[in-house]
Every structure is written in structure tokens, then in C-alpha cells.
Symmetry: C3
Subunit: 134 residues, 3 copies
Amino acid sequence: MRSEIRDYRTGGDEVVLDITRDCAEFVVGEGDGLLQLFVPHATLGIAVIETGAGSDDDLLSALGDLLPADDRWRHRHGSAGHGRSHVMPAIVPPYATVPVLDGCLALGTWQNICLVDLNVDNPDRQVRFSFLAG
Amino acid sequence: MRSEIRDYRTGGDEVVLDITRDCAEFVVGEGDGLLQLFVPHATLGIAVIETGAGSDDDLLSALGDLLPADDRWRHRHGSAGHGRSHVMPAIVPPYATVPVLDGCLALGTWQNICLVDLNVDNPDRQVRFSFLAG
Amino acid sequence: MRSEIRDYRTGGDEVVLDITRDCAEFVVGEGDGLLQLFVPHATLGIAVIETGAGSDDDLLSALGDLLPADDRWRHRHGSAGHGRSHVMPAIVPPYATVPVLDGCLALGTWQNICLVDLNVDNPDRQVRFSFLAG
């Protein structure tokens, strides 16, 4: 397994950050196998969705309804509603697997691999890219 | 890695489509390893749930509450509420992994592998089956 | 692939059960590869979240809001609201993948691997641990 950590900066706002290009680059030159993505954070998720046509904002809005940024959370410190960021990875998992064929991601036309970050207090993030040859 | 695309028709209604039989057939003759399922679509998810005892309809109802088919979505075209189908894969992911032992899926008695499709505008779907020998 | 079933008792209450220690122990002595976890149950999920600081209870509360334990579910038997436990695995999946490096889980500091069990009628649970060398 080839495995590598890359650093990202998600900033101080809720964000859906497209990392598809880095995923594609990571598997260039490989054959067939599986790309496994993993974020070593308790307040970060990975989603495979379309970006750039409104759905990234739609996802943040939906998560605002499903996991409101209010004072309901037992886990609380930092910004208001921070506790919801710790529940999110149960629903938007911190891992994903994507098939790789002849060094190319087998994504659909409209699919992008994205970090989902509601946590406005921790802008420094890491993603582990791992490739298992098949 | 052995990998193969199969075509499905999900029709014009919201649907939970059981593909367990095709998954089982795909790994017949293999040894131990991992079945990875992936759908190359931005509006389709994979769920491992019980089917045929009400839970498939319960899932569609729950998704109707969690991601309502109304006009809240920025991404909009086609049928009303279409944008929710683009948010769904962040919550019901477009991939799944299932252990395979001696050519058999290591599923529990009541588990079935299903496509979850809220998108009534695109009935033609593909699923990629990949087997990684372990 | 090395694969093994372990038994757990989740008891008669909703619970988030931390199994990180067993996961770590399972991969000791291995090299690099992927830990795949799978629960052969239709009413059980796996989440990678922080435990012991309120977020486990926050997750149970959030699931109480998102999938209420009332009489809305078509699938019904046993305790009130049981049907929601059958919808949960579409949202909190029954599998997870975690990278392993030199026999160690590549988890972040605050990440724990947990069973999520809303089903108060079935306290006897199994988890399949599988390691794919990479």
C-alpha cells in the first residue's frame, strides 16, 4: 500500500472543499486497485458529490437543518454549535473508497471527492491518501 | 482487482433496489477478499439494509423528511426537489465495502445491498463491482 | 485477508460502544494495509467519532431527532420505534475502512471506532474484523 498525508487549509467558514484533482494525481501511474481516503480528524467528513452547481451549498444548508449550530450539544467549546461537528462524521464518514482502473479514478462525470468541514475553529486539516493495488 | 460495470433500470419512482443477488453472483468462485461497490452517479447511494419488511419504504419516508422534495435547493432543474438527490450521496454514500469469505458475501441474515434512488428523472443506472483478493 | 468475528454485548439501552482498542489489537504485528470493519446486523452501524466528551450522547440525541422512536415506521415489532433501527444503517453504515501503517491504526488523536446501536431488543452483537495487506 502506498500511503501519503497531504495538508489542506479549510479556513474559518463552513466549507465543501473539492480534492478530486489531488486524488486523481495520487493514482497516476498506478494500475487497478482501490483509493482509500481517510481524514484523521474528529470533525471532518468526506463526501462524493457534484460541486460548482449549487449542491455544495445545498449540503451545508441541509447539515444546518439536520445538525443545527445551536446550544443543544453536550460537547461544547469554541464557536457556537461546535458539538454538531463532532456528530457529523457518524453521518458523513471520515473515509471513502473509490475504484481505480489503469491509474484513473472510476468516478462518474458529475462526481467530485470533497472534504466537508463545519468546524470554523480548526482550519488546518490533513487527508491520508492510500492506494491498494488489486 | 476484477472489476465490472452492470446496468440497472430504477424507473420513474423513488426506489430502494435490492442488488444482493448480483453481488453474490459476482464473487462466486473467488476466495477471501473485499467486494467494493461503487455507483458512478451524483444522485445515487448504496445502503445495506433489510428489504421486503417495510424498511425500504421507511427509508424513503425518512429521506423525504430529512431531505424534503421542495423548492429549498439551489441546484434545481427537472422534477420538483431534484436538488435533494444531489445532497443524498453525502449521507447515503455511493460506495460500500463488504467482506467476502471463500467466495461468499459475509452478510448477516437480514442484510441486503441496495441502490437508493430518489431521482425520478434518470432511470438508467450503472453499478461497478470490484473484488480485491486479500 | 485475515478475518475474524468478535462478540459484543450492547445491552438494553441505546448505546455508542467504543471498540477502538480491539481494532488496534487486531492489527498489531501486521504491516501496511486496510482494516475493514463490518457488522452482520440490519440494525447496527459503525461510526468513527470522539467518545468520552459528550459527543456519543450527542449522536444518540441527534439520531433521536432524525429518526424518531415513534409509530411512523412500517416495520414494527418489539419496542416502540424499532423500525428506525432498520433505517439507521443507510445513514450510519454497517462498515468502515481505516488505514493501517506498520501494524498501527492511522487514526487521529480524537477518533474512536464505535458501534452505534439504537436497538434495545438485541443485545448480542458481532463485529467482523478483516485486514487486507497492501
